[in-house]
């Protein structure tokens, strides 16, 4: 047997641990907020979303154009690297597949970029195939600015820092490159089921 913390009990374990809770995570009922700087407030008139980088032709949408696209409502569990998880969160957004329709690219990675300068990198395969959305509503309400509104990337199968708040576009890349937190030693991929919190995990 490995390390034991003397006299540590932890929460009562009369019921089995929820199988939907990845290792090292605990459940919350509220919705914690984490961000590295002030919450940006871009007016919807000035807001746009772009697909750019290694593509034959860039694509751009205004807020109204984006909202006119077919949206989906999805219910997913989310997992933050700071150890909290929240189950059955309901979002409405545009599938990234919809945004990439007709885009010709040989890229294997994307960099999400945001108001405020935040970035995060992901494999293209992890934002396609029904795995990622540009979400603009949470629990049936417009997404609050402190949670990333007007729109955030939603990639619920990876740690939540990959679900970039205040997202303004995806830049397609041939090579993987670290985003904001990844530069500071957070994991390049971030699978919560593998506990890939930091570089080398």
């Amino acid at each position: 047997m490995g390390f034991v913390s003397r006299a540590f009990q932890g929460r009562p374990r009369d019921q089995p641990r929820d199988a939907r809770l990845p290792p090292g995570q605990y459940l919350v009922r509220d919705f914690p907020v984490l961000s590295a700087g002030p919450t940006p407030h871009t007016s919807l008139d000035e807001w746009s979303f772009s697909i750019e980088g290694e593509v034959d032709a860039e694509k751009h949408w205004s807020w109204e154009e984006l909202r006119a696209l077919r949206s989906e409502t999805v219910t997913r569990d989310i997992h933050c690297v700071t150890e909290w998880s929240k189950l059955d969160t309901t979002w409405e957004g545009i599938s990234v597949d919809t945004l990439l329709e007709g885009v010709e690219t040989a890229a294997d990675y994307v960099m999400a970029f945001c108001d405020g300068g935040y970035t995060t990198n992901l494999p293209l395969d992890d934002v396609t195939g029904g795995k990622a959305w540009i979400a603009f509503a949470f629990d049936g309400q417009p997404l609050e600015s402190q949670h990333g509104g007007p729109a955030r990337l939603l990639v619920p199968h990876l740690y939540f820092w990959k679900s970039a708040k205040w997202v303004r576009g995806l830049r397609l890349m041939n090579e993987d490159s670290p985003g904001f937190w990844e530069t500071y030693g957070y994991h390049m991929y971030g699978d919560p089921w593998q506990e890939q919190r930091y570089s080398g995990d």
């Binding site: 034991v4 003397r6 932890g10 605990y26 907020v33 002030p38 700071t82 530069t183 995990d201």
Partner: protein, 250 residues
């Protein structure tokens, strides 16, 4: 927002509790000896992992309050009544106990002497911890870096590091500390008695033209409000760094 590449693997280390200091009725500092610790920057945090006898584990993140040069690593933990980890760390733990942790983690919410000032620190409750690491580093450095700390606590007895802050101010090194109390105040309290607001920040922060470097740490409503106010007052968003301390789980 570029950073320094940090690609070192973060292994779990076994720390030994050397000393426990009760800072307030609800906050306790843990002074830890961590063999092999690689060092940290002021503002970084660690992940702590507790393991029960049946193998059950709980992990939480805590900011480091000690200065980078310190021999011991100090975490200051506020006990949350319904918490799982904080009542253990700030209640059960004794000198000589062992604790698993890994780090340092983070690298954006950090201050180094070379970044200079003026330095505006805004804290709420136990959000003082990473800012205390910055103040301790600043004190050890040569030269006076103009620094102001605006620190919101519920009551005077909830002010963490109160005596040490008084001592740091008394050294005359250019540090000003402004307390505001949000609930009870002692008889004859001459200071501020309300939540941090725009008027308070306007009076205490340097003019935006002096480009203070700003660090804000506390519960989310305080951080959101203070950061938003400072942006509205004209401070550059890129010079405002934030970190959250919530009552979540703890």
């Amino acid at each position: 927002m570029a950073g320094t590449a940090l690609q070192r693997r973060l292994i779990w280390r076994t720390a030994e509790v050397v000393d426990l200091i009760d800072e307030t009725p609800r906050a306790r500092s843990l002074a830890l000896a961590v063999p092999g610790w690689p060092g940290q920057l002021a503002g970084q945090h660690v992940d702590v992992r507790l393991t029960a006898e049946d193998g059950y584990q709980a992990e939480r993140s805590y900011s480091i309050a000690s200065a980078p040069a310190g021999e011991l690593l100090t975490l200051t933990v506020e006990r949350l009544d319904d918490g799982e980890v904080s009542p253990y760390l700030a209640g059960e733990l004794r000198a000589g106990d062992k604790l698993e942790l890994r780090g340092p983690i983070g690298g954006y919410f950090v201050w180094e002497v070379a970044l200079g000032g003026p330095l505006l620190l805004v804290a709420g409750g136990s959000g003082i911890c990473p800012l205390m690491a910055m103040l301790r580093l600043r004190q050890a450095a040569a030269g006076a870096i103009a620094t102001r700390l605006l620190y919101s606590s519920r009551s005077l007895e909830d002010v963490i590091f109160r005596d040490e802050l008084d001592r740091l101010v008394a050294t005359g090194s250019g540090l000003e500390v402004i307390h505001t109390l949000t609930r009870s105040v002692p008889e004859g309290w001459p200071g501020l008695h309300r939540r941090i607001d725009t008027a308070m920040l306007s009076a205490i922060a340097w003019p935006p033209a002096e480009r203070p470097l700003i660090f804000i740490c506390g519960p989310t409503p305080l951080v959101e409000s203070a950061a938003g106010s400072l942006v509205n007052l004209g401070h550059e968003p890129a010079r405002i760094k934030t970190e959250r301390f919530g009552p979540t789980g703890g």
